[in-house]
């Protein structure tokens, strides 16, 4: 066991390059705790799948160490790592029945016939596929194949299970149902899960912690609420949830806060999160639900209503604010909500804590 770190899975300064020139993964440091559900979230080409493949052993790290339970596994071939995996296209063996598919990893481990039968049955029951043992994968629907793939990845009791966008091929309703099922199985078994997805709502629903990937680096590693409420840079703010951005210049620092000057010369306050000193550019991030209409006499910035979208419980108002044409405000459909019409000008306000000054990416 590595004395300096008690992480179950550990990436230590890992780099990966396919062509020897461009790095797909740049200096990755990540520790994953035992029993944790960690999601690697990011746009395609951000290096998240490459990281998963390195962990599974299908790709080798160009530089750095990957450790599993304290042991370096860089030179351990995939079939000796004992990691379960659910593939994007399920990768069920088409020439075997569901039960044979599940028995495969157990036969490899030379288990007895009776034990194999018990375990296969238990795993199939866990995903509510107990009656389908005799079917072939081609005779199952996408959702059923997905369950079998999950059962197969868990049947040999691995301590670590990797999932590579396992719900990508399912329709929305089934996807949401499977999210909960996978989450419940994770809670039940206490197995460590590393999950890769580009779907942020999936990541927010299921994870203990989310690592947001972009450009080969982890942009932020945090539990879902932190990620949404306290993004540390412009990329995360933009990638997770809905976000309004305003470009500004820092005028002066004031403890935790900064005074900023907008493009039209007006000023405001923001929380200093990830910005430079006076005179430097910053990008402010504001969640739509944290923007309110200013009371008369209160501080506010002028916005022009461009579009109103009625959504039942709330009304989405798209406004032009300080040069940003896509500034969105969510007005709750309460009994005394503000009545607005297109073309009207309104004064918008927010609490300085909700306005985060980030890097001007």
């Amino acid at each position: 066991m590595n004395a300096s770190n008690d992480a179950f899975v550990e990436f230590d300064r890992v780099q990966k390059s396919y062509d020897g020139e461009t790095l797909v993964v740049k200096d990755l440091n990540l520790g994953i705790g035992k029993g944790e559900f960690l999601t690697m979230l990011g746009p395609s080409g951000s290096g998240k799948t490459t990281c998963l493949m390195m962990l599974a052993g299908f790709e080798t790290a160009t530089h750095g160490d990957i450790r599993l339970d304290g042991r370096p596994i860089n030179s351990v071939p995939p079939h000796k790592r004992g990691i379960g995996m659910v593939f994007q296209n399920y990768a069920l063996f088409p020439h075997m029945t569901v039960a044979e598919n599940l028995a495969f990893p157990l036969q490899v481990r030379k288990m007895g016939k009776d034990e194999i039968e018990t375990r296969v049955k238990r795993a199939l029951d866990m995903v509510q596929m107990g009656d389908f043992g005799g079917r072939r994968p081609a005779q199952l629907s996408g959702g059923q194949q997905q369950r079998v793939a999950v059962a197969r990845a868990l049947v040999f009791d691995p301590e670590l299970v990797l999932m590579d966008e396992p719900l990508g091929a399912l329709d929305k309703q089934l996807r949401e149902q499977m999210q909960f099922e996978i989450k419940h199985i994770h809670e039940q078994l206490g197995v460590t899960v590393v999950y890769v997805t580009h779907d942020q709502s999936e990541a927010l629903t299921m994870s203990d912690r989310i690592a947001v990937f972009n450009d080969g680096r982890i942009q932020q590693l945090a539990p879902p609420p932190d990620l949404y409420e306290r993004p540390e840079n412009s990329f995360v703010a933009q990638f997770i949830g809905e976000n309004n951005t305003l470009d500004a210049t820092i005028a002066e620092r004031d403890g935790e806060f900064v005074k900023v000057e907008f493009v039209d010369g007006s000023t405001g306050q923001a929380l200093a999160v990830n910005c430079g000193g006076p005179g430097e550019k910053t990008r402010l991030s504001l969640r739509p639900e944290r923007v309110t209409f200013a009371q008369p006499g209160e501080w506010g910035v002028a916005g022009k209503v461009k579009e109103l979208i009625y959504l039942g419980d709330h009304i989405r108002v798209r406004m032009q604010v300080l040069g940003n044409n896509d500034f969105v405000v969510k007005v709750p459909n309460a009994s005394r909500h503000a009545t607005l019409s297109v073309g009207e000008t309104a004064s918008l306000s927010w609490v300085a804590e909700d306005c985060r000054a980030l890097d001007a990416a």
Binding site: A56, P77, P78, H79, A91, P94, H95, F104, A138, R152
Partner: protein, 283 residues
């Protein structure tokens, strides 16, 4: 495809011409093979229909030539030679061809085009040239005139068929299946036999069938490389035609055609059945 009601005169003419042409092509391909079947039951030692045969007289037909084939030591020797050389050559070309196809299909293979071209070349180079080349080369290394030499040569001729059919099957093979197998703890050998092999089996079988028939029908290479001890059926038929013109050849030909047809039909049925069972056809 039926003739459309709006077809022009030209289209109508072509519609019927096309059918006549297809009929002619099939006729010229199949008739020479069909015709030897009744001829092989000729009671007299001729290659033509006797007046008695045309009149469908029972005593104009006989199994004489079949008897000759089954009781003549030279024919029997040739049959057994063929039956020992063809399966050995098939086994060799299937093993090597399948491995080569898998290697050639992997993304990491350098000079894929060149290697593929070399392996396929026996199919393209005129047989007489391959045969002559093999003759001189095998004489040098002491393989000329041996059973093993003939097997090797026939295997080389069969390999391209196996490579082509297996490569075609591998195009549809999902590489994440081998990854999944590795992930579940199966080593490369187990993965190959339990996952990859069963799935590419239809291609391997087709390739093997072609390789078998290539060896079983081969007459040029065997004339160069075989000694009297390795006379195969085609060789014996060839010399028989040249030297004695015995209608036994017709009996042998009929038997060979029957065996080929039965083999092909059986394997095709087996292949389709396994494909259906394995749920290979998507959807």
């Amino acid at each position: 495809m039926a003739l459309q009601p709006y077809a022009s005169t030209g289209q109508r003419i072509w519609y019927y011409t096309f059918r006549v042409l297809c009929g002619l092509i099939l006729f010229f391909l199949i008739f020479p093979i069909i015709i030897i079947i009744p001829l092989s039951f000729n009671a007299l030692p001729y290659f033509t229909f006797t007046p008695g045969m045309l009149a469908l007289e029972a005593d104009a037909y006989s199994l004489e030539h079949y008897r000759d084939f089954f009781y003549n030591d030279a024919w029997q020797q040739a049959l057994w030679n063929s039956l020992s050389i063809a399966p050995a050559a098939t086994l060799l070309s299937v093993s090597l061809g399948t491995l080569a196809a898998i290697g050639l299909s992997s993304g990491k293979m350098p000079f894929r085009g060149v290697v593929m071209a070399i392996l396929i070349s026996p199919m393209i180079v005129p047989l007489i040239i391959s045969a002559a080349g093999m003759y001189f080369f095998y004489s040098r290394i002491g393989l000329q005139g041996t059973w093993f030499g003939v097997v090797l040569a026939h295997a080389a001729l069969g390999v391209p068929f196996v490579i082509i059919t297996v490569t075609a099957t591998l195009v549809g093979f999902d590489r994440s299946l081998t990854r999944a197998a590795a992930n579940m703890g199966a080593g490369p050998v187990r993965t190959f036999f339990k996952v990859q092999m069963p799935l590419i089996l239809p291609g391997v079988i087709s390739g093997g069938l072609f390789a078998f028939i290539t060896s079983f029908d081969e007459v040029v290479v065997i004339l160069f490389l075989g000694s009297a001890g390795e006379q195969t059926l085609p060789w014996r038929m060839f010399t028989g035609l040249r030297e004695q013109i015995s209608p036994s050849i017709l009996a042998v030909a009929t038997l060979l055609v029957s065996v080929s047809v039965i083999l092909l039909v059986t394997l095709e049925i087996l292949r389709r059945r396994s494909e259906r069972l394995r749920g290979m056809s998507p959807g």
